[in-house]
């Protein structure tokens, strides 16, 4: 069984500069880490591989320094790592990003199961996963909270929607995006890090991709126009309740009622 996990490097801290000209995150020079949601997807993939057999390939679109993230994935147990890296991919929105990743998956010969994190902690759209599936014409389920059953032919997953839980079964090939806390992601292993030191991280560029239509990639292929991007105002209001637990409970209830929250 062949599993591809899509990953992204995100800023390691919350203090990130935004380019005021184009509304794009300034990524160069700042510390990065693997998008935390992608660690849940990698963990899910590794568990499925360990149960059913097969391989896990991690795939990302990003600058060459994404190699650090891919090596981290090797230390967690990934079998193969591929970076889609080209200046032509820069400045991509959801549409161009998902298209580029879909092209990468095609180039790799497709997968039985593609797993993405529900969202990233920088872009936050939660749309790239399902968009990849649409480009590839795959059935997909987003926001997966639990893999209920899996074998070499199909996967059954539970997704928590706002008011209902839905269990879906899909034949391969298909795509899922997983929510946080589906599993606790394993930590990178020093032994695996040593074992994978000589292993390559493959780089794929624009010219390798099946579709050579430049207008589908990067800023050019991105219909989204960011007019302005700014950090939300941090509103912090603290109310301290005094008294014994019964009095405090009553006060709290009163506050919630006054704010029409209950």
């Amino acid at each position: 069984m062949r599993i591809i996990v899509c990953m992204k490097q995100v800023p390691a801290t919350m203090e990130v500069e935004v380019d005021p000209q184009n509304g794009i995150l300034k990524r160069m020079g700042s510390e990065t880490k693997t998008n935390p949601y992608d660690l849940f997807s990698l963990e899910t993939a590794l568990r499925i591989r360990d149960k059913v057999g097969g391989t896990v390939t991690v795939l990302t679109m990003g600058p060459a320094q994404a190699e650090d993230m891919m090596r981290d994935a090797y230390s967690m147990g990934a079998d193969d790592a591929v970076i889609l890296s080209d200046k032509k991919f820069a400045g991509a929105d959801v549409l161009a990003t998902s298209y580029t990743l879909a092209q990468g998956i095609r180039l790799l010969g497709g997968a039985d199961l593609v797993i993405c994190g529900k969202q990233t902690t920088d872009g936050d759209t939660a749309q790239v996963g399902p968009a990849i599936a649409e480009h590839l014409g795959l059935p997909h389920t987003a926001w997966v909270k639990e893999v209920c059953y899996v074998d070499s032919g199909k996967v059954q997953v539970r997704q928590d929607l706002v008011s209902v839980s839905q269990v879906s079964e899909m034949q391969y090939p298909c795509l899922i995006t997983v929510d946080k806390d589906i599993h606790v992601p394993r930590l990178p292993s020093y032994r695996l890090k040593k074992l994978s030191e000589g292993r390559k991280v493959r780089i794929i560029t624009y010219k390798d991709l099946p579709d050579q239509d430049l207008s589908r990639y990067g800023l050019v292929g991105s219909p989204t126009q960011v007019e302005r991007i700014f950090p939300p105002e941090a509103a912090q209001e603290r109310v301290q309740l005094e008294g014994d637990s019964e009095q405090k409970t009553e006060q709290l209830f009163g506050l919630l009622v006054a704010k029409k929250l209950v």
């Binding site: 390691a12 880490k33 935390p36 660690l39 230390s75 606790v184 992601p185 930590l187 292993s189 020093y190």
Partner: protein, 470 residues
């Protein structure tokens, strides 16, 4: 000697309200039950006669003058997060809360110091230091503790391996003596050979010598990068035997904790928190700080090689906030997990020489088997402070009392035999009082009494804690 003490009269209350303010003086049933005990009600539940929230050193001084003249016991209280039954009114009298003295007076970058009132929370001290690019290292885990309480109990915590304990971070203390006089022990200097080191004696005196009203703390520059290693082992012995090897290397780990898989299972079962590794039966968790990512990565590699050499199954790396949190939040939840897993618990807080940890842990397990009681060891392997948790499970009240007493006596005897001490960081308070004299001997106990009486000849300040004078 002052004992027996006088009870507070209506007239006394009027006076106390006069030197403070009526709404900050509570009497009898007006006093919240939480002030009857600290985090360990097992170590005594005592009703204060009056509860006062002071807002200045002058008020504290006036209250102490009054208490001194009228022979009334006073117990100063911070956030009440102690684990020794220390901040309680064992003989009634006044509970004097310092929690309204909660201002950070100055953060002094030039002197790498901070001056704060005793009611400032530890978390606030830490945050104020970070805001100015500095670092206050002592971290006893309980971040809602008051800084005054942590100074008066010489709180430790897991970072002691690299940074030391609270005593190493106190430059000076302004305090009110039992007779109401205000004094300052030492000043904002780095070294001092002026007379007896009373400041260091006052730190850890559990509120029996004076009441701190202002504390100047030493800060250090902030480490820029902090990673942790999770190291699984097949057996506890190899796990603990690694500790001296790490300490004898070129590294200075910030923390080295050990935890057994059994306890991780309890936390998962009771609190639903899952540890990110399941491969070992015992684990070391090693925290490594440094100023650059490269330096920390290099040190982690060195530590990993030492651990593998010592028989570790593997070494797992926490190099992001989330990964660190996935490990340390579970380490931080063990006490809560254990409490939920049993009907009652008693904690033994011995500290032994670091080379003797394995021997102590082995002995603790034998003592547990002998008395047919569940014992779990967890703690600060890097500094030899092993929290030995005795769990009650289905023992009756009487069996529990008898068993814990026997088990504690044997654990303390073992610690003493190995060159250890009775308490590493939780203190004596009321809870460990009955074991102290046996442990330190009568001559030492006499010295303790003399010290107490040198400060407090009427024995009115937090009486019956640390040392009993009757």
């Amino acid at each position: 000697m002052a004992f027996p003490y006088n009870k507070l009269t209506g007239e006394d209350i009027v006076f106390l309200k006069g030197v403070t303010s009526p709404e900050r003086v509570l009497v009898g049933e007006e006093i919240q039950r939480e002030y009857y005990h600290d985090e360990m009600p097992e170590y005594g539940i005592f009703a204060p006669e009056v509860y006062i929230e002071a807002i200045s050193k002058e008020e504290i001084s006036a209250i102490m003058k009054f208490a001194y003249e009228h022979n009334i016991p006073v117990t100063a209280r911070g956030a009440g997060t102690g684990l020794a039954g220390g901040a309680t009114c064992k003989y009634g009298g006044i509970m004097l809360s310092v929690m309204r003295l909660n201002k950070i007076i100055k953060v002094d970058a030039g002197n790498l110091s901070m001056t704060a009132q005793p009611g400032v929370l530890l978390s606030e001290v830490a945050a104020a230091a970070i805001e100015k690019g500095m670092f206050y290292p002592p971290d006893p885990g309980e971040k809602t503790a008051s800084i005054g309480g942590t100074v008066m109990t010489n709180a430790g915590g897991m970072r002691a391996v690299r940074y030391g304990v609270t005593r190493d971070y106190v430059r000076s203390i302004e305090a009110v003596l039992p007779d109401g006089e205000i004094v300052t022990f030492s000043s904002n200097v780095v070294k001092n050979t002026t007379g007896y080191a009373i400041k260091d004696l006052v730190i850890g005196s559990e509120g029996t010598l004076c009441i701190a009203t202002e504390i100047t703390l030493k800060l250090i520059s902030i480490p820029k990068c902090s990673y942790s290693l999770v190291v699984p082992y097949n057996d506890l012995e190899k796990c603990i035997d690694t500790v001296p090897k790490l300490l004898n290397s070129t590294l200075t780990p910030t923390a080295i904790e050990f935890i057994e898989a059994e306890l991780l299972d309890i936390v998962e079962r009771q609190l639903g928190k899952v540890f990110p590794d399941k491969s070992g039966s015992a684990y070391l968790i090693v925290m490594i700080d440094g100023n650059t990512k490269q330096e920390v990565e290099r040190d982690c590699d060195i530590a990993a090689e030492i651990c593998l050499e010592a028989g570790a199954r593997d070494v797992m790396l926490c190099n992001t906030e989330e990964r660190n949190a996935s490990v340390w939040s579970i380490r931080g939840a063990v006490l809560e997990g254990m409490k939920a897993d049993t009907t009652g618990e008693e904690e033994c807080d011995v500290v032994v020489p670091r080379s003797k940890i394995a021997e102590y842990v082995k002995a603790a397990k034998e003592i547990a088997a002998k008395h047919k009681v569940r014992i779990i060891t967890v703690g600060h392997a890097g500094d030899g402070n092993i929290h030995t948790e005795i769990l009650r499970d289905d023992l009756t009240e009487e069996e529990w009392k008898v068993t814990t007493d026997l088990v504690l006596k044997e654990l303390y005897a073992k610690s003493k035999e190995l060159g250890g001490q009775l308490s590493g960081e939780h203190g004596i308070g009321n809870g460990r009082l009955k074991y102290l004299e046996d442990f330190v001997g009568s001559r030492m106990s006499q010295l303790y009494k003399s010290i107490k009486l040198a400060f407090d000849e009427k024995n009115i300040l937090n009486p019956g804690k640390m040392i009993e004078i009757m």
